[in-house]
């Protein structure tokens, strides 16, 4: 089966006063229909810019998608004209955002906002679009969708707004859904519901999902494959079970060690006074990356070669690649 979304060699840069900032460099991945690929990494590692690059929503200028291709069903989005790209957004590739509170226009009813986009892409009548909006709200399990469609965003709870956003994103049955931290602004119980919902709809519609998150718990629960990003580059990629069982890159290992384990505080498998490990230091500035491995200044295992030579992605185990000299 050919992947629905194929990203290869994607590089996005920003021309700033302090020089060229390489926000995303040479990132490649592929997602099959109905599958979820998670992109993880800490703040500033290029996750969101990757997501925006897929949608071609990077502000230009100062941004620029310098190289690579983003193929949806074989069509390279980066080669389309602005008008053609606009046609694709929403119909073939859709996005949901982190902030359900402000991602809906406060002055339009929820139903109206979904209608707007259905009319836009399907060129159908308002009547048909309205029915479709209510139907979508029903799909995302909003009770009384008929009534809710006529309500304004402020009358909905955070979780319900995110459901409405999902309804809007999926209203035109896009092939690819880009979800940029869709649950970060929600509390934990709602998070689980939203993730379940995305999973269910994904199975139902066969949507390929790119899930951007920094929450490894979310990754373990939903993703099939994981891409780990650091300082704008992909540093590791593997199926989810594999990467959790054998993280090769010291950065991924560090991330795993920084997760609290249930029971650890009670001393079931570790010493009761053991502290949670952190990765010391911060992400290097993207306009001033070290010549070698970008993670080297923070890496506990780094040696002389890491300082001077940047490791390329290499296969460390079947279907498991990582960019590290030592792994």
């Amino acid at each position: 089966m050919a992947p629905v979304l194929e990203v290869s060699g994607l590089s996005t840069v920003f021309h700033t006063r302090r020089g060229l900032v390489r926000a995303v460099q040479d990132v490649s991945f592929a997602v099959n229909a109905g599958e979820t690929l998670a992109i993880v990494g800490e703040s500033g590692c290029g996750k969101t810019i990757t997501a925006l690059s897929l949608m071609r929503l990077v502000p230009m200028p100062p941004g620029e998608i310098a190289a690579g291709s983003v193929k949806v069903d074989g069509t390279d989005l980066l080669k389309l004209s602005d008008n053609e790209m606009r046609e694709m957004r929403g119909s073939k590739i859709a996005m949901i955002f982190q902030e359900p509170m402000t991602a809906l226009n406060p002055l339009l009813t929820v139903g109206n906002q979904i209608e707007e986009m259905v009319v836009l892409h399907d060129k159908c009548s308002r009547e048909v679009a309205r029915k479709r909006a209510v139907e979508m709200l029903h799909h995302v399990r909003i009770p009384e969708p008929d009534r809710r469609a006529r309500e304004y965003p402020h009358q909905l709870s955070g979780g319900m707004r995110q459901r409405a956003m999902i309804a809007m994103a999926l209203a035109c049955r896009p092939k690819v859904l880009v979800a940029d931290e869709p649950t970060t602004a929600l509390d934990v119980t709602i998070q689980a519901q939203i993730l379940d919902l995305i999973g269910d709809l994904q199975r139902e519609f066969g949507t390929a999902v790119v899930l951007i998150t920094h929450d490894l718990g979310v990754v373990a629960e939903t993703a099939k494959r994981v891409v780990v990003m650091y300082a704008g580059r992909k540093v590791e990629e593997a199926p989810v079970e594999e990467i959790f069982a054998r993280p090769y890159h010291p950065y991924m290992q560090g991330l795993m060690n920084s997760i609290p384990r249930v029971g650890s505080a009670r001393g079931l498998d570790v010493a009761p006074d053991e502290r949670l490990q952190e990765i010391s230091g911060i992400v290097p500035p993207l306009n001033d990356l070290p010549p070698g491995c970008a993670f080297e200044p923070r890496c506990t295992k780094a040696d002389a070669r890491c300082k001077t030579q940047r490791p390329e992605l290499a296969t460390k185990a079947p279907d498991h690649i990582a960019a590290c000299w030592l792994a």
């Binding site: 606009r86 119909s91 859709a94 955002f97 402000t102 226009n105 009384e144």
Partner: protein, 292 residues
């Protein structure tokens, strides 16, 4: 259960119940609207409402005090003040509403374009509006009427143009903030064109400041018209306008015949008051966040 709830909520409330609801919720706004409606009706049916002919002079009632014949007194030429106020409502309201709508409309469009497009367009338009702002409103209106010639239409244009930079600046600053809102980005992600986003998503969100600004401008446009008419560049004599009635008599008769000053002034104040009340209520009524 859920169906009974949704049925209990009328989907399209009748016009009457809507009016009743609004009047309970915005009593001041309804009062303002009543004032405005009264003036508008007076203006439209001036020929039937006015007790006397506003143009016919009468030497015997020159500067007559308010009496049974001249309810609000008469001016130097013996013309009935009440009748002149009623007829003057035509000019004054036409100028006030016309200039405000025209000025705010163009201003909003310019502000939206500036704020949304940004770049060199914004830069140039901003410099032009600053130059316009540096000239006093009256001087600019004078220049415009002087070049266009005095007439009702030209008066409206002359008063509207100086309003444009003012409105444009406020709308632009609003748009600059709105442009960065996540819902604008979300709208882009749904494939909407920039133009459509500007009109459907951004413009409605600037309505609140626009309404407040417009209603506040209404009064000053009436006074500008007065000054223009006083200088002979507004609506030509003998047609009455409140502003001219006020400014003609203010210096000469304020002590000897104060009704010549008080009543036109009162009419202007009432319209400004009414429009402000209406505007405030309108702003709240149009904001869905104020309802439940």
């Amino acid at each position: 259960m859920s169906t009974t709830v949704s049925e209990a909520r009328p989907s399209a409330p009748g016009f009457l119940s809507e009016v009743l609801y609004l009047s309970r919720r915005y009593p001041l706004g309804v009062a303002g609207a009543l004032i405005m409606v009264t003036f508008v009706l007076c203006a439209i049916f001036a020929d039937y409402v006015a007790p006397l002919d506003p143009f016919s002079t009468n030497a015997r009632s020159s500067l007559a005090k308010p009496s049974e014949v001249n309810l609000l007194g008469a001016d130097m030429m013996g013309r009935d003040v009440l009748s002149r106020i009623i007829h003057g409502a035509r000019v004054s309201l036409a100028v006030a509403v016309g200039a405000t709508v025209l000025g705010s409309g163009i201003g909003a469009a310019v502000g939206l374009a500036c704020g949304y497009l940004g770049g060199w367009f914004d830069l140039i338009v901003q410099r032009v509006t600053e130059v316009m702002d540096a000239l006093p409103l009256l001087v600019m209106a004078l220049v415009i009427t002087a070049s266009l010639g005095p007439s009702l239409r030209n008066t409206i244009i002359a008063i509207a143009i100086p309003l444009v930079p003012h409105v444009a600046r406020v709308i632009r600053s609003n748009v600059l903030a709105l442009r960065e809102m996540p819902f604008v980005e979300a709208a882009k992600a749904t494939g909407m064109s920039e133009m459509r986003i500007a009109v459907v998503h951004v413009l409605p969100n600037t309505l609140a400041p626009l309404i407040v600004l417009a209603t506040a401008q209404l009064g000053s446009t009436i006074l500008t018209e007065a000054s223009l008419s006083f200088l002979g560049l507004g609506v030509p004599e003998p047609y009455p306008s409140w502003g001219r009635m006020l400014s003609e008599s203010a210096a000469e008769y304020v002590r000897t015949a104060p009704w010549l000053v008080i009543f036109p002034g009162l009419a202007i104040s009432l319209v400004v008051f009414g429009s402000n009340l209406t505007g405030d209520a309108l702003r709240d009524a149009l904001d869905p966040r104020q309802h439940d």
